[in-house]
Symmetry: none
Subunit: 218 residues, 2 copies
């Protein structure tokens, strides 16, 4: 950090800061200079400009020069859209069917979306969510109603928790996957440590996605 700090903000400067913050809560865009003038009770636009410069020096806001509404508050007040990601819930996962995969057309159906912090899931590309139905995923420590956040991929690293469809059994399951040395078999290890791993022929296993995160609301 550089020399930030609230080096004795003058009173009108605090009013400006507070006004911008409230204004952005209400509308979704920053105010104009003149709106600040009125809203924060400043006498002239040039004074607003003056105070804004001071606030910028104090690192409390950033300005895009010569752009209308070009003032944005720095970190503390504002959350970048990058910090949260809306993941579409594309269906239910049940043992007796392949896990649904995202339909690229079905964009952001507002209702069926779960918000998660980016820090939990990393990059948003290829992310989708499944709601678990029934207790068929109990050996993955996942119960009815839990939500699994997946990343679409068919390449996984050893030890990744993934959704696998077993073609010979006609079943989906969530397991940790390890490739055997000969590459012909997969070792599937339940997330539940009290249960034993088992092995399947690699040709009978379709990897449908990688589990990024499991969420249980209560």
């Amino acid at each position: 950090m550089s020399n930030s700090a609230i080096e004795h903000l003058t009173e009108p400067q605090q009013r400006i800061l507070s006004f911008i913050s409230h204004y952005m809560d209400e509308h979704d865009v920053p105010p104009t200079i003149r709106e600040i003038q009125k809203g924060a009770g400043i006498s002239s636009t040039s004074m607003v400009s003056y105070h804004l410069k001071a606030l910028e020096r104090a690192n409390l806001l950033n300005r895009y020069e010569r752009r209308s509404r070009g003032v944005v508050l720095t970190h503390p007040h504002r959350v970048s859209p990058r910090d949260i990601v809306s993941v579409p819930i594309v269906g239910r996962i049940v043992a007796s069917e392949p896990a649904p995969t995202p339909d690229p057309d079905a964009l952001a159906d507002v209702e069926n979306t779960i918000q998660v912090a980016r820090s939990l899931v990393g990059n948003a590309d290829g992310l989708y969510a499944l709601e678990v139905q029934g207790d068929s995923m109990i050996d993955a420590l996942i119960n009815d109603g839990d939500i699994v956040i997946m990343q679409r991929t068919d390449e996984i690293k050893n030890g990744d928790l993934a959704a696998i469809f077993l073609t010979d059994r006609n079943e989906s399951t969530l397991k940790r996957v390890y490739r055997e040395k000969d590459g012909k078999r997969l070792k599937l290890k339940p997330e539940n440590p009290t249960m034993k791993p088992f092995y399947v022929d690699a040709r009978n296993a379709m990897i449908q996605g990688k589990v990024m995160c499991v969420i249980r609301k209560t």
Copy 2:
């Protein structure tokens, strides 16, 4: 919901939507009409206006009339700071000890914090998080390393999932709690549906908090 839906968006309309979204990721304010025109490759400002009207009708964006940069995308893309909450991870929960409770002084130790979407946890007051150690919470379908988001409270509704310290056994556990009619016993039901509930004397059970959410990063 009203009549939302992507009633066959025309191709330039999709470009506009996408441009606005990307623009707002980069700058923090919405673009102007003319910026949209250039950025989305529209031939004239009137065409932008024309498409914007259509998009507004489709509930994909809101407009503040006659305001510069007065177009904001609806719900999915924009995040208010109130939509995310930082929950402090105050300790580990192990079966053989009471579950830690938050120290009100220890504010926002940046490192030991987990970000979650408000929609998962509701009000942020009294929220704290525990990391589960060992597999002692397996009957709550929670494994080593999972994170439990708790709300400090000693009053719970029947059927709430809660952290209980059993004084006679010297154990913490996470169970669904039901008060018996006589108020003297509690029924504790494991989250794992394959396990059976059991009963404890209410005087031997200290309710330490309510489970709001369980998160497993993988």
